[in-house]
Amino acid sequence: MATHGNILRRVLLARVNGENLWFRVLVNGILIIACIAAVYPALRIFSVSLRPGDRLLSTSLAVIPGDATLANFRRVIIEKDFLLWLWNSLLITITTAVTGLMLAATSAYAFSRWRFHGRNAFLVFLLATQMIPAAMMMVPLYIIAARLGLINTYRGLVIAYSVSSVPFSIWIMKGYYDTIPGSLEEAATIDGASRMYTLWRIILPLAAPALAVVFLFNFMSSWNDFLLARIMLQKPAMLTWPLGLQRLQDQFRTEWGAYSAASLLLAVPVSALFLYTSKWLISGLTLGSVKGD
């Protein structure tokens, strides 16, 4: 494809940028080393999960062991509580992502469209809540939950998770609503539509990308939570997957194969989802700070 002229121009351009061949090799070399450092520890999960039961403790560094087997996957699914943990996590996480989204989508609309007393103070308060260490909230939450009989219930976690991402979600949603021109609502009002009808039928469909980001963000943050679940749940039948994995990796009798197989089954879909959506997640992260108004 590249003609001689093209190549010449590119070489010249590279010269201008001070990038000769050796520099390019160096850049790519550093990046490849960084990639290996980033990926190899993750690949270890994969390789340990494929090892047969008697060779779990091995000093081999190979990614795919010579005698790879899927026995660990069978074992973790059939003999361990893996499916139970997955079910608990999915049930709690999806419920809370939806309720959290509804809370944020409605109140963010008010912040975007109206100026009222205490609006700015409230927005700053929402940001300030992000500074509170999660560990700090654990003591009062635990004691309140214990007093109300919410320990070892889905109820307690569903309520707690629903609200925990609301401040951040409101900021993202507000930032996005701000980019939707108010003339749309004016037109709808002239046509006789109520404000709620307009929000439901016109604004929310337009805000679908932001809704997706907020849903994903809520989903990820409760899906990956360890601390609150650790405090609220103790009964084996109630465990979410982070607690289950921790039990599999017990200090004295770690079941490496089962642990790695379970980790792989959990990590691959979530990581893939994250990588696939990271562009929007990251734009959402910066949206709140850029679209200040």
């Binding site: 980033a38 139970l84 079910w87 635990y142 309140i144 609301v166 200090q251 990581s271 990251i282």
Partner: protein, 339 residues
Amino acid sequence: MKSLTGVIIGTSLAQVGMTVAALLAGVVALEVLVWLVAAKVLRLRNPLVPMLLAPAIVGLAALVVVPIGYEVRLAFSNMSLRRFRNPDFGLVYGWNNLTSIFTDPVLKQTMFFPLFLRTVAWTAVQVTFHVVLGLLLAILLNRKLVLKNLYKILLVIPWAIPQVISCLTWRGEFHYEYGFVNIILKAVGLGAVQWKSDPTGNWVAMNIVNIWLGVPFMMVIALGALQSISKEYYEAAMIDGATGWRRLRSVTLPLAQPILTPAVILGVIWTFNNFNVPFFINEQELETSDILVTALFRAAFEYNLYGFAAAFAIIIFLILFAFSAFYIRATGALKSVRG
């Protein structure tokens, strides 16, 4: 062994369904109440605004404001596992909690100030590494590369994996004999390290894991910042004869700084509050690897000193608050909020 049975599915669905139904009923009741007050009693022109805000406000009040208030109350009590049902409240208990934070060991041996300094060192080391390595990788990536997209995906993987899994896996890989870290160290002729039981080894292990975890975020933010810098600045700098280093210092860094500053503040807060890494990597519960938040967790849920832990939590929050207020004032990072 509790496997996933139909009974469990049924009861869990019923419980979650009931919870959602109760929440919905609560929201409806709240909306009617707010509407009555706003439209009929206060005769507001636009009752929709309080109605839209009410559910979120009630939720945040119940799960943020009330717990913090309760925490302040607990800080003035001697609540512990033994005195869980009938703790004593009073100024004297608050004073006792406060003085014991600074004069007694927070856990068994570690005093508050060494713990605090260790947390500051942890935060400083981590954020420095995150920013330097993240910026370096971003600068390397910010050019035409054949494999650019592949590099980007692979480098983000540590961020994409659920943190609990990364931490537990890394912990396993610090095994003296079978973990890959020691296997590699031995292969290149260095000695194996006791990553789990040696205080220094464990501290280094914690730092390795968290650098691995934290660089991708900074890299992504830095790359976004670099891409927002117009090429014309570099052309102008080159015409003026600026070298590569000079261009980095005088063009790249100043222009990337507005985007990097909020990321650095976030990084400091996240690292200071990082629970997962120091908690999981420190498998043998060495006190020398605890930072403030893990010590807080242990005081509360392993030693069950709830009153003491509440006071301790408030002190930690005040430290963080002072830092943030100072930093925000110094950099004007919250200017965009005023609207």
